[in-house]
């Protein structure tokens, strides 16, 4: 603070209060969308709820570090993913014996082959249950899942995801590709089982 800084006058205080209220309202209006992502970055609803409360508490405390006009949803998720890591999320290593990854057409091929001749691409998806999908997503290793959740569920761009996770955009692309493949492979296993 420079010595010439004057005490804030009443008008400044009023402006600040108004900006803060607006910020808090904007942040709360995004909470459904933030939760949508948060819920699948962690394993349980309880964890997601704790994380949401910590995130909003921190966001409301440090609202002045948000630059108006920039992406508030991304800013909130940046806080949330940092808190998630601070909470001691274990650094998860991809198993050394990672099975050979299948291609992008793998899940469809499996579902089509397992069916009773129905290969309608819009009906084939019905062989997957909601449970298969939720369980499969939770099995994708963290590093890959974070990116899949941000882009495919949170609708963030590669650039936003890179900023939120503080990783290069190329890493976002490769993790996304790999994460989606792992997800599809896991869904194929639960829907069709081990048979070829």
């Amino acid at each position: 603070m420079s010595e010439t800084t004057r005490e804030p006058d009443a008008r400044q205080l009023a402006t600040e209060a108004r900006d803060r209220v607006r910020f808090e309202e904007d942040a709360l209006a995004l909470s459904d969308q933030v939760y949508r992502v948060a819920r699948h970055l962690v394993g349980s609803r309880e964890e997601a709820e704790d994380l949401m409360q910590e995130t909003y508490a921190r966001a409301f405390r440090s609202w002045q570090s948000f630059t108006p006009g920039t992406n508030l949803r991304a800013w909130l998720l940046r806080i949330l993913t940092n808190l998630n890591i601070d909470r001691g999320r274990k650094q998860q290593r991809t198993p050394d014996t990672q099975p050979l990854e299948e291609g992008d057409y793998f899940l469809y091929n499996k579902l089509e082959a397992s069916g009773d001749g129905v290969s309608d691409e819009e009906r084939v998806v019905e062989r997957l249950s909601q449970h298969d999908v939720v369980a499969a997503l939770s099995e994708v290793p963290h590093d890959f899942r974070d990116v899949v959740v941000l882009v495919d569920i949170g609708d963030f761009t590669y650039a936003d995801a890179a900023q939120i996770l503080d990783i290069p955009i190329g890493t976002v692309m490769s993790r996304l590709h790999r994460g989606r493949r792992i997800l599809k492979q896991t869904m194929a296993e639960s829907a069709v089982g081990g048979e070829a």
Partner: protein
Amino acid sequence: MMAYDPCAHCEEMMQPYMDRVITDAERAEAETHLNECTYCRKRYKFEETLRQFVRQAVHEPMTVELKTKLAGLRTPLQ
């Protein structure tokens, strides 16, 4: 050298195509192939349906209790 397999190439292009991060020329090339290849067309269509299905399947709305708690974290008005 392996023979060029247009379907294998199309499979590789699926993610960039769906995410709209390819050039116009690449998009046109993929679409030309998709127009004439039922095998790839079905798989692209399936991918689109699948992405939508996944989004819906994992949707779990926030509880009213949590919403209330978040609103309670606001700075009290003076």
